[in-house]
Structures are given as structure tokens and as C-alpha cells.
């Protein structure tokens, strides 16, 4: 089992989606920490306690994993999100991004901003 504590192993602050938007980007966390851990096989536990997140950052990290070749079934078995009760709704949003279920905001608004 590999454990990634975002606050300790990455940063207490989070930045934009892509590396070119500055430090602490979602792309940097995903490609440097999360994806290598998933590629090693076994369970990956991500502790989200500590930092504050934009939903854009979370979506970029967890919502793009299926595009990178990981299946929904594989992720639902091997990727576990760990959080205290005070991150309950953040964790729930992450689970939705991972499984890509029930988008909570209309697609028209998302596509308009992209």
C-alpha cells in the first residue's frame, strides 16, 4: 500500500490545473505523485487533510485518471480517499470525479469556461 499525504508530501496550498499556471498545480501532483503510485500496483491511499482545494484542482487530479488509462473498476478498488469529517464533502466530490458520476454542475457552464 502506498500512502500519499497531500499536505505533507506535496503542499499545504494548491495552485492551478496545469504546470504552466504556476506552482503546486494539479498536473504536478497527479503526474509526479499519484500516477506513479498507481502504476506501481496495489492500493493507493490519498490523505486530503490539511490543504484547501479549488474544485478545479481536484477535478484535474482525479477526474482525468480515466483518460490516462485507469479504469473505473480499478480506481474504485485501488484508490482510497482518506479524510476527516471536516473534509466530508470534498471527499465526496473527489469520489464523483474518480468515478465520473453525477456531475453536479451543468455541462454548459463547464464547457463555457474551458
Amino acid at each position: 500500500m502506498i500512502r500519499i499525504d497531500i499536505g505533507k508530501d506535496f503542499s499545504q496550498v494548491t495552485g492551478g490545473r496545469r504546470r504552466d499556471s504556476g506552482a503546486h498545480s494539479a498536473e504536478a501532483f497527479r503526474d509526479d505523485l499519484l500516477v506513479p503510485a498507481l502504476l506501481r500496483g496495489g492500493q493507493v491511499v490519498v490523505d486530503i487533510t490539511g490543504p484547501s482545494y479549488s474544485m478545479a484542482w481536484l477535478e484535474e487530479v482525479f477526474g482525468s485518471l480515466q483518460d490516462l488509462g485507469f479504469t473505473r473498476e480499478d480506481l474504485s478498488v485501488r484508490l482510497r480517499i482518506e479524510a476527516g469529517g471536516d473534509y466530508r464533502y470534498t471527499a465526496e466530490a473527489i469520489r464523483r470525479y474518480i468515478l465520473r458520476s453525477d456531475p453536479v454542475i451543468s455541462d454548459s457552464i463547464i464547457s463555457r469556461t474551458e
Binding site: T14, R18, S54, D86, Y89, I105, I109, I110, T113
Partner: protein, 162 residues
């Protein structure tokens, strides 16, 4: 004569005992009721604080999304930081209320996540983000719905007495 004295003594003791028991019961009831009332008032104040935070979160979200990121400059950094903090505080408040009071049961998590998505989703942290008037409207609509959902999460006791 002796029997009369014993009877009166017994009567007096019964009266004193009854009065004492009544006083203790009354004091206990008053304490319980005032504690419930105090906790109830405290809960109302906390819910008011949470709703104010949500309204402020929505207002600042609209400020951010009503202008392109490049136009906001340093002010944009301040506003985005405030939004990160408010988003965290809203989640902390909800967890605290849910855990500490059996008079508060929040079941509108979807609405909360949708508001978070509307404010800090999309291109929110990007330096080249464009303004999005439709999103501004969406933010205020979702915030209004969430405030009502939170106020509805407050349960009343004894037909609104507490």
C-alpha cells in the same frame, strides 16, 4: 397527647420533605430547560454565521467571475485566497454542527458541492480565465438554495419552543 405530637411531627416532616423534593425537582427542571434553550440559541447563532459565510462566499465568487483574471491582478489573489478560506470554513462549520447538535441534520451535500463547483470549479485558478456572467448568476442561485436548505436542516423541539 404523645400520639398527637408524633402525628404533628410526622406531618411536618412530610411537608418539609415534600417541599424540599419539589424545590429540587423545580431547580433541576429549570436547569435542564435553560440548558436546552441556551444550546438552542447557540445553534441558531451558529447557523446564522454559516449562512453569512455562504452569502459572502457567493458574493466574492461573483466578484471573481465577473471579471477576467488578468484584470483582477493582486486583488484577484486576495479574493481567491478568501474563497479558499471560506470554502474550508463552510465545510468545517457543517461538520461541527452535524456532530455537535442532534437538532441539526444537513442532507443537502449535493447542493453544497454544486456551489463549490460553481465558484472554484472550471477555470477558477487559471491566470487566463475569462469572465463568466452566466456563472455569476448560477452562483447566487445555488447559494440562495443552499441557505434555505441549511435553515431547513435545523429541527425544532416541542413545536418550536426550542
Amino acid at each position: 397527647m404523645w400520639e398527637d405530637k408524633a402525628f404533628l411531627g410526622g406531618l411536618l416532616a412530610s411537608l418539609l420533605g415534600g417541599a424540599l423534593s419539589g424545590a429540587i425537582l423545580l431547580a433541576f427542571t429549570n436547569t435542564v430547560l435553560s440548558r436546552i434553550g441556551l444550546r438552542s440559541g447557540d445553534l441558531t447563532a451558529r447557523i446564522d454565521d454559516l449562512c453569512r459565510d455562504i452569502e459572502r462566499y457567493a458574493d466574492i465568487g461573483v466578484l471573481v467571475w465577473s471579471a477576467p483574471a488578468v484584470e483582477l491582478g493582486a486583488e484577484g489573489i486576495r479574493l481567491r485566497s478568501t474563497l479558499y478560506g471560506l470554502q474550508r470554513r463552510i465545510e468545517l462549520w457543517l461538520d461541527l454542527l452535524d456532530r455537535e447538535s442532534w437538532l441539526f441534520r444537513f442532507d443537502a451535500g449535493d447542493d453544497l458541492i454544486a456551489l463549490f463547483e460553481a465558484v472554484t470549479g472550471g477555470g477558477f485558478p487559471e491566470p487566463d480565465r475569462a469572465a463568466d456572467p452566466a456563472r455569476c448568476q448560477d452562483i447566487q442561485r445555488r447559494a440562495a438554495g443552499l441557505v434555505v436548505a441549511i435553515r431547513r436542516s435545523r429541527r425544532n423541539l416541542l413545536h418550536g419552543l426550542f
